[in-house]
Symmetry: C2
Subunit: 331 residues, 2 copies
């Protein structure tokens, strides 16, 4: 590997001059600059990032912590972050936390030891005090962590209200909800949105809410039982698209026609939702946009710019597809 000293020697200048040419700062005589640039090109010199990091205490690296990259919601999010950051000369290290606080801590330790410049975090478990211990720029995505950690997420409650309202609008009378885990904040927010609309319509019944754990199989099982016990249910709002697929399966296994006898709507708008038969109506999140803007906010934090607002709330949009495609019908 060519070092800056090799270049300096070859070009008959000092390492300081080479460094100044590389970084375009300080005074360098135009002729000297050219000479050094030629040498750099000739020797194919590429500066060693590690040495630079050691002195500057920064690494041009950020970490992205997600529960599990295998969950179809996260790849797009990770891709958005990675795309944005590579443009800025940053690399991205991937951390799968499984929502395990120990793993989160482990990754934070590793990051700290490597002078990682900041992190984008999807977590319910990460708490303020832990973040403070590491004093590292952090941005929250999809789920909030603390009020003064910049956060990028959709308005889950409003989105859920819209989804539930949509079911009412197309004529559903008995609307059930498959919810995500209790400990996941956005699962609860979506439940609340559902609750708000149902309560308002005077149609809320506790037994229409089942636990799907953000999991397809669990959802299929829970919905199947629900539909058997309550065949009058004619609409289901699932807390995410994966569970909506589970609901679809449950309906299919009972010979219930979607959307004619049962309308189903999901949440997230992952690619998958448009690939199924019938195509799934869903509240679509601007995942890619949120993630690039989160990355942008992290860049600002790292460079020390003050960020104006800490909460960035996006509105999910209704994707009206086949699974809720039916005419109004009367009770």
């Amino acid at each position: 590997m060519t070092t800056i000293r090799d270049v300096a020697k070859d070009a008959n200048v000092s390492v300081a001059t080479v460094s100044r040419v590389m970084n375009d700062n300080g005074y360098v005589n135009p002729e000297t600059r050219e000479k050094v640039k030629d040498t750099i090109a000739r020797l194919n010199y590429q500066p060693n990032s590690v040495a630079r990091s050691l002195y500057k205490k920064e690494s041009k690296t950020i970490g992205i912590m997600v529960p599990d990259i295998m969950n179809p919601y996260f790849p797009e999010l990770v891709r958005g972050v990675e795309d944005y950051l590579i443009e800025k000369g940053f690399t991205t290290i991937l951390c799968n936390t499984d929502e395990d606080p120990d793993k989160e801590r482990l990754y934070l330790d590793v990051m700290k030891q490597r002078y990682v410049d900041g992190a984008i975090v999807v977590s319910n478990t990460l708490k303020r005090d832990l973040i403070d211990q590491y004093d590292m720029p952090i941005v929250a995505l999809d789920r909030s962590i603390h009020e003064n950690v910049p956060t990028f997420m959709v308005n889950n409650t409003v989105g859920a209200e819209q989804a539930t309202q949509h079911l009412i609008d197309i004529g559903c009378k008995r609307i059930a909800h498959v919810r995500g885990p209790e400990h996941v904040e956005n699962a609860t927010a979506r439940y609340e949105g559902y609750y708000n609309i149902m309560q308002q319509a005077n149609r809320f019944h506790e037994h229409y809410v089942v636990q799907g754990d953000f999991d397809q199989k669990q959802s299929a099982k829970a919905v199947k039982q629900l539909l058997q016990e309550h065949p009058e249910v004619d609409g289901i709002f699932a807390g995410n698209d994966i569970m909506a697929l589970g609901a679809l399966k449950a309906a299919e296994s009972l010979g219930i026609k979607v959307p004619q006898e049962l309308a189903i709507i999901g949440f997230d708008g992952i690619d998958l939702s448009s690939m199924t038969i019938p195509e799934l109506s869903t509240m679509s999140q601007p995942i890619y946009e949120m993630s690039t803007q989160a990355a942008d906010a992290l860049m600002s934090l790292i460079s020390g710019e003050a960020t104006d607002e800490t909460e960035h709330i996006y509105q999910p949009t209704l994707e009206w597809r086949q699974s809720t495609d039916r005419m109004r019908k009367e009770d």
Copy 2:
């Protein structure tokens, strides 16, 4: 940040002794060891990986290059690699290449500058000479690069033969194939498997092969046209699961019943394949296993151990699900 010199001063020993305690090498008096360990714990000293990397010319980091993490085949693969490596104290940097040689080169440059220890690569475009330029331990996953780059992949041709044979076994007579892009080696291998069986059965017809580009929409379009022109087709082998979903859509849009009138089988065995209605039969790859073993091989390469074989070929297994679930029927 606490440094090794802080610890040394506090414990009244030299930095060398602290280093020896940290790394468990060299001679250290048991009492001194205890004293230093106490100090380390008390000051919560965590060594700086960057300084270590600079001296050792290694970073305990590897890169994983995939075309696009949003392609549902890759998250599991990436997860397998990351899971395995974090256990070994390595972190993983994610590289989305979009199969673009310029991006591949860019990432390799970045890795080199950071003393990245090795890379796991999924690529058709990366060529031997480029790898040689970077002389970095490299393992190929899913697609081969060169004969002396350790490779972990399934036997695509045999898998495709099995898939095609399966369609024959369940009674299909006119079997079509939706293939992936010409430039992707495994797409061609799968096509060849299909070709072999069809030729052998004396049933190969060029016009039964359509281009699906590994894309759901493209596949749906191509298959729809195929089915309109050749309504006699009663079986489809799709080059991957995503395209099989496209085929499913095409059939559905034409009112063709799957599997009764048309059997469909995919390839890969991504999670998605078991979530659809009907559930998709597919040739399932041991993705997670392949990826952890690729990571293991990379570890061996990095530590300089000789690896016995360079090619590791796995057999995909038939997942016989609803989309090919029918009795034999006669011509």
